[in-house]
Structures are given as structure tokens and as C-alpha cells.
């Protein structure tokens, strides 16, 4: 049924609060959960909803993302008809090198928007982690004759779910889930009905709204398009009830990874009828030595473990030498931790080497980040 829908993913999020983690990549390409990149989740959700034409808007440092996506084959998107389209920044005569906001990037995708044969657009940001399909949301969208349907989740006071950005919408809805008012969250844990930066809209309407906003020198999708028109258009919400988190700061990234150690989160994300796809690597399976002591941890293939690992996430090809203690750590692909090093609440980016005997520690709000390729 989703043959009528194409996907449009905005992978141009700037986020300085992710610090060194996105120095050399964009947020969408940030590794997560042992073997995925953040984008894998939204991308797989679309594929699992039978959406077969997906455009990905990129903006800055997207080399890493392109390496990851390649032809789209691993998401079954390398097809003769439709498939995966990467939409890099596009300058026009009227609009040269202006990228002040998301709208400029979206306008740059104009050629793609004109070309896609599907009638409806499922627009999404790239930095949300959840496993769902959009089939039911689409059905309701049609049934309600909605102009826009926004995916949202309920957040109650003190709830830890949905690590949210200030730029997320908090929406007020009537009993029919029609959105009557909305504002930006004023704190990161504001309770309410929080938008998940994902909406369904007719392609023609999206183009009209975009052109209109761009013509008036507006730059923001949410402020200038959604909020501006909230009472003119039929905007509805569609609730998502499973696990979700948004990656928008180091603490949020750290927490989202640690959440993956909870069985209920694993069940929500990985053991549904729909899988999350990612680039395949032909790593050998993980190997445990005689002194390995691993508890409450996610371990990817290609790891060699001879030390102690607790409450941690190890990506593919990580080496943990004898005598090492890792606690509450995130260790990205191909990093090596040598003899007797001791690490607590540390994020090791890809290809990091930790010298023998090193002692490093951070805390939950400010985990210690060792950048890509460093020797510490």
C-alpha cells in the first residue's frame, strides 16, 4: 500500500552539542548500538513500511554517510525502479550557498521532489531511534482527510523516554487528535505530546508550502511552515507508543546506547517482526578468551575479548586485552584497548588505541570522548 508514499529524510542536522562525535561525520552517520548508524532506524522503518523511493538530504560532512549507504543494497533500495537517492547541497543561481536552515536544503531537493512519482511524502529527521512502520499512520491520514499527520509520543513528568531536543514540538490536540496549537519545548523533559520530527504530507502541498516559505525568505520548516499554518491546515497527530529516543547531545547519545542494554528496549528495537537493517560486514564472530568476563553488554562481531567488560557496548572488531576493565563504555569499530587499561564512562570513537595501563573516566552527563583514530 505504501507504493503511494516516498520517503524524505533530512540528514543535515547540525548539532554542536554532539561535540567531537560529529567532527568528521554528520549525526545520521553516528554509530550506535554496536553495529548501526543512527539513520538505519528511520531508513529501515520506511523500508519496512514498503516505501521504496527514499531521498536523503545531506548538508555537511556526508562522506561517512555515503560510505555507509553505498548503493542502498543493504536496505533493499538498490532497485531498477525507485530506490535510494542521496541529495547533496544544491546551489541555484537565485540561491547560491545559502543554507541558513532546513528549508534551504529542502528547496535544494526541488528537482527530486518534482521527479518522484509518489503522491505522498513521509518526511522525517534522521536522528530518532525507534522501530515502527508507518502503515497505520498512513491509513489514518487518508481516513481523516488530513493535510499533515505528525508522529508523536506521550511524555509524562519525570519520564525518561524520548530524550528530547528543545526544538521538538509540544502539541495540543483535541479529542480527535487534531492539532490545535503547538509550541517548542521549553525544557528537555517537558511533559506533553511531543512531535517526533516525522510527518506525512501530500507532495504537492509540501512543495507549495516550501515555495511559499522560501519566497518569503523563511528558513525553518517547523516555525515557518508548520506552526504558521497550524490552524489553516488539517494537522493531526499519530501516536507512537514504543521506545524512542532522539540523539541530539552527548549525554543523550550515551543514554540511548545504555538503554539498549535493557531487555525491554532490545525487544522494542530489535526483536520485532520488522528488523533494523544496516551495512553488512563480513567480520568473523566475536571470540572470548579464557579470562574474558563480560556482563550486561552488547558485543558485535569481530570482537576479541580477553578482559573484563561490564555495562558496555562494543562495536565490530574491538579488541579488549587481558587485564583491561571496561565499565559503562561505548567502544566504536576497530578500537583497541591494551593490557590493564581501566575505563569508566568513556566513549571511544572508531580506531582508537588505548595504551596499556591507561586510566580514563567521565560521567553520565559528560562522558569522556576519545576522538576517531586517537592514541590515548
Amino acid at each position: 500500500m505504501q507504493r503511494d508514499v516516498f520517503g524524505l529524510i533530512y540528514a543535515g542536522e547540525e548539532n554542536l552539542r554532539l561535540g567531537e562525535l560529529i567532527n568528521k561525520r554528520n549525526v545520521a552517520a553516528l554509530p550506535i548500538a554496536g553495529r548501526y548508524r543512527i539513520l538505519d532506524f528511520v531508513l529501515s522503518n520506511m523500508v519496512n513500511s514498503n516505501i521504496r523511493n527514499i531521498g536523503i538530504i545531506t548538508k555537511r560532512n556526508y562522506q561517512s554517510l555515503m560510505d555507509h549507504l553505498d548503493s542502498g543494497k543493504d536496505w533493499d533500495l538498490s532497485r531498477k525502479r525507485d530506490g535510494l537517492f542521496i541529495l547533496p547541497p544544491y546551489d541555484t543561481v537565485e540561491n547560491s550557498a545559502v543554507h541558513e536552515g532546513m528549508l534551504d536544503s529542502l528547496a535544494g531537493a526541488g528537482a527530486y521532489l518534482r521527479k518522484v512519482p509518489q503522491e505522498y511524502c513521509l518526511y522525517s529527521a534522521s536522528s530518532l531511534i525507534y522501530n515502527a512502520t508507518y502503515n497505520e499512520m498512513f491509513r489514518q491520514h487518508i481516513e481523516r482527510n488530513a493535510d499533515i499527520t505528525i508522529l508523536y509520543c506521550k511524555r509524562s513528568a519525570g519520564s525518561s523516554r524520548c530524550v528530547s531536543n528543545f526544538s521538538n514540538l509540544s502539541m495540543e490536540m483535541d479529542e480527535n487528535e487534531r492539532v490545535r496549537n503547538a509550541h517548542f519545548c521549553t525544557s528537555r523533559d517537558e511533559p506533553g505530546l511531543i512531535g517526533l520530527e516525522c510527518m506525512l504530507i501530500k507532495k504537492d502541498l509540501l512543495k507549495y508550502l516550501l515555495d511559499n516559505a522560501v519566497a518569503r525568505n523563511k528558513h525553518n520548516l517547523i516555525q515557518d511552515v508548520i506552526l504558521e499554518n497550524i490552524n489553516r491546515l488539517h494537522v493531526y497527530g499519530y501516536e507512537y507508543t514504543g521506545y524512542v529516543s532522539k540523539i541530539d547531545c552527548v549525554a543523550g547519545y550515551y543514554k540511548a546506547n545504555m538503554d539498549m542494554l535493557l531487555p525491554e528496549v532490545q525487544k522494542d528495537l530489535f526483536y520485532q517482526s520488522n528488523s533494523i537493517y544496516t551495512k553488512t560486514k563480513d567480520e568473523a564472530p566475536a571470540k572470548y578468551g579464557s579470562q574474558a568476563e563480560v556482563h550486561n553488554s552488547l558485543i558485535a562481531s569481530g570482537c576479541k575479548i580477553e578482559g573484563k567488560v561490564e555495562d558496555s557496548i562494543l562495536f565490530r572488531g574491538v579488541y579488549v586485552a587481558p587485564g583491561v576493565t571496561l565499565k559503562n563504555c561505548i567502544v566504536m569499530q576497530d578500537s583497541q584497548i591494551y593490557e590493564n587499561a581501566s575505563l569508566n564512562k568513556v566513549i571511544l570513537d572508531k580506531n582508537v588505541s588505548i595504551r596499556p595501563g591507561s586510566v580514563l573516566a567521565g560521567n553520565e552527563q559528560y562522558p569522556f570522548i576519545i576522538p576517531k583514530g586517537a592514541i590515548a
Partner: protein, 395 residues
């Protein structure tokens, strides 16, 4: 018209592997799982890719469904190029008659048309039941340098075991002077690995002659090789010095798996230059819970381990419940083991369900084997050395 190929590989994957009993009752031997995430056939297919041989005919006959689905278009081994591919070749009807593959040589004979499409100079014949990493280019170079008609890969086996193999006796130039199938008093210890390179024009003639010979068993080892020797063709041995494991029996399969668990195993699966490719399934990273303990083991993606695992090979998606202790065992894909079970020296095929408190295997050192799809009820006991056929219910 397809382009000419220098060398085409023909992979004999039709064998039943009857000595693997329950593991091959529902699938061909090359489809048997190995080493945590592989299947036996991944090794020859990856060797082909790593050697730049991009056209592989896979000859299937026995229980081919699982194998056919597994090979698909050959993409996991990078064999899906514009002018390359992995082609599954089952027996088919020709003109008015159709027949099964009557032997290894007959299987190739029946596919002469397939090979002719590529007009190759050489044909590499492989078997689908061995675990090894080999660059076939070296062997091909030796074959060319010798201006040979056939080159046979050999490996040195311990002298006392030589009588179990086909032994190639060679002169100082490695030219084969004599071939003895399972000799009582072997003259040397260079055993045939069942890997051959033939110059196609020559081989083609012999295959046709063999097909017309009613007394022939249509087998490479028994008919083609002896015949070529008899006629004085240029036949050479190529000594392979890497790690090679025949996994044709339960014992040898178990041992080859366990060998991977040692430090610096002879078969290095982690070598970037000779990667073994396999069909990857979408599984998350594996999870070891608070109660999980894993030592000296290989664990693949998607496993969830809450029990104790010592000296085991666990394939994709295996679940081990709390309080369960598993030792010296191989657990294949998606098998689920409940709580407080005890498993010793066993091979559990894929998709098995073992309920709580079951006991499988014992302490005397005999290997216990469970076929795929078996359900082991709560508190059931499976005696050491048992061989349980697939899809059984055991209470």
C-alpha cells in the same frame, strides 16, 4: 555470446554427506553450518572470489532447497557481476532423457554446455565439504608453468593415516607417477584434496570418453585420473601447505569447530586478505546479560546469553537461559535453550527448542547430535552419544 573466461570453477555440492547423519538429513552437506556464522560452502565460494575466479557452477542434487536459497544469485560472495555469477546447476532433462548425476565426472559431463559458454582455458573442480582457505591462482600458475593437463592439490597427511586417502606418488618435479586410492601400504603421504585444475580441451575429451564407457563409475578419483595417468598425460601435484580440514564426519566437524577456539587457530577467520564471506542475516549485536558467563567461545550476532557458556561455538540468534550450563558444544542458528539445562559435548543443529531443566550429553566424551527443529521437553534427558533425527519431539 558470453565473454571468454580464463578459468571457470565447478563446485561439486551434490553430496549427501551421509556420515553427518542428522545434520544432513534435510540438507546437502555444503549447507551445514560451521564456525559461528558460516556454512561449509562459504569456504570454496569465498576462495573463488578471493582468487578472482568469478564464474562458479554449483552442482546440486541431494536436498538442494536450502542450498539453492542460500546461494541465491551469489551476491554475498560478490559473485553477482555483469559477466560473472554463481550458477546452481541441478540435473535436467536433455532431449528425451533426463538423468541424475551418476558420479563426480558425470556431473561435470552433463554440464559441458555450461562450461562451453565461457570457452575457458582451465576448469577448476572443487568439492563442497572442506574447510580451508586457498588462493587458487597459485595452483593455476603452477599448472600453467608445468604446461600440465591436470593438476591435483595435495596435502601431507600423517603417514599412519595415509591409507585412508587417495595418495599421489610423484617424481622430483612433482609430476604424478602413480595414484593409489586408499593404499594398504602407502608409498608417500601426499593425499589428494579433491581439488583439480584441468585444461578444458583435454578434460572435455576425457569426460566424453568416460561417459561412453559403460564400465566406468563416472568418478574423478576412480576413473578420470587413473585413465589420464595411464595415457601418460602431463599430471602434476600441487602441494598445499595451509590449513585444510575435512568435515565429513561428526567427529571431524566437531573438532574443526573446537580448533577455532584455541589461541591463534590454524584457520584464521579474521584475516583481511582472505575474508570468508557469508550470507549475513539482520541480527543485532549479541547480548550477554548480568548472569551470563562466556569463556573460550565464539559467539555470533543476535545471541542472548543469560547462562554459562564454556568452550562453545554459538551461531546467529542462539538464546541460552539463566542457570543453563553449556560446555564443549556447537549450537547452530536460532536454537533456543531454556533455563537450568545442562549440555555437554553436543552438536545442536538450528531451530531447536530445548525447554527448561533438560540434560543433553554426558561426561564420557561421546558427541551427542540433535537434528534441526527438534523439541526437547521440560526435564528431558538425552543420553550421551545419541543421534536425534530432525523434527523429533522428545519428552
Amino acid at each position: 555470446m558470453v565473454g571468454k573466461k580464463k578459468c571457470v570453477a565447478m563446485l561439486l555440492a551434490g553430496g549427501q554427506g551421509s556420515r553427518l547423519y542428522a545434520l544432513t538429513q534435510k540438507r546437502a552437506k555444503p549447507a551445514v553450518e560451521f564456525g559461528g556464522k558460516y556454512r561449509i560452502i562459504d569456504f570454496p565460494l569465498s576462495n573463488c572470489t578471493n582468487s578472482g575466479i568469478d564464474t562458479v557452477g554449483v552442482l546440486t542434487q541431494y536436498e538442494p532447497l536450502e542450498l539453492n536459497a542460500y546461494i541465491g544469485n551469489g551476491a554475498p560472495w560478490d559473485l553477482d557481476g555483469m559477466n560473472s555469477g554463481a550458477y546452481v546447476l541441478p540435473p535436467y532433462v536433455k532431449g528425451k532423457k533426463g538423468e541424475w548425476y551418476a558420479g563426480t565426472a558425470n556431473a561435470i559431463y552433463q554440464n559441458i554446455n555450461f562450461i562451453d559458454r565461457y570457452n575457458p582455458d582451465y576448469v577448476l573442480v572443487l568439492s563442497g565439504d572442506q574447510i580451508y582457505k586457498m588462493d587458487y591462482n597459485d595452483m593455476l600458475r603452477v599448472h600453467q608453468d608445468n604446461n600440465a593437463d591436470a593438476t591435483i592439490a595435495v596435502i601431507e597427511v600423517p603417514m599412519k593415516e595415509a591409507s585412508r586417502f587417495g595418495i599421489m606418488n610423484t617424481d622430483a618435479e612433482m609430476r604424478i607417477v602413480e595414484f593409489e586410492e586408499k593404499p594398504q601400504n602407502p608409498k608417500s603421504n601426499t593425499a589428494s584434496m579433491g581439488i583439480y585444475i584441468f585444461s578444458w580441451a583435454k578434460m572435455r575429451d576425457y569426460l566424453i570418453a568416460d561417459a561412453n564407457d559403460e564400465t566406468s563409475e563416472k568418478d574423478f578419483g576412480k576413473n578420470i585420473i587413473p585413465k589420464m595417468l595411464e595415457n601418460g598425460e602431463r599430471m602434476f601435484a600441487y602441494l598445499f601447505e595451509g590449513c585444510w580440514r575435512d568435515v565429513g564426519t561428526i567427529d571431524s566437524l566437531w573438532e574443526a569447530n573446537m580448533e577455532l577456539l584455541g589461541e591463534n587457530p590454524a584457520l584464521n577467520l579474521d584475516d583481511d586478505d582472505m575474508r570468508i564471506y557469508t550470507r549475513n542475516y539482520t541480527n543485532p549485536a549479541h547480548f550477554i546479560s548480568d548472569t551470563g558467563i562466556v569463556h573460550n567461545s565464539i559467539v555470533s550476532d543476535g545471541c542472548v546469553i543469560e547462562g554459562e557458556v564454556e568452550h562453545c561455538v554459538l551461531h546467529d540468534g542462539v538464546r541460552i537461559g539463566k542457570g543453563t550450563k553449556i560446555k564443549d558444544s556447537i549450537i547452530m542458528s536460532n536454537t533456543i535453550i531454556g533455563e537450568n539445562c545442562e549440555i555437554n559435548k553436543a552438536i545442536l543443529d538450528g531451530d531447536i527448542r530445548v525447554w527448561d531443566n533438560a540434560v543433553i550429553g554426558g561426561q564420557e566424551g561421546k558427541i551427542t547430535v540433535l537434528g534441526s527443529g527438534t523439541v526437547v521437553g521440560k526435564g528431558a534427558t538425552i543420553e550421551e552419544g545419541a543421534m536425534i533425527a530432525p523434527d523429533q519431539k522428545i519428552d
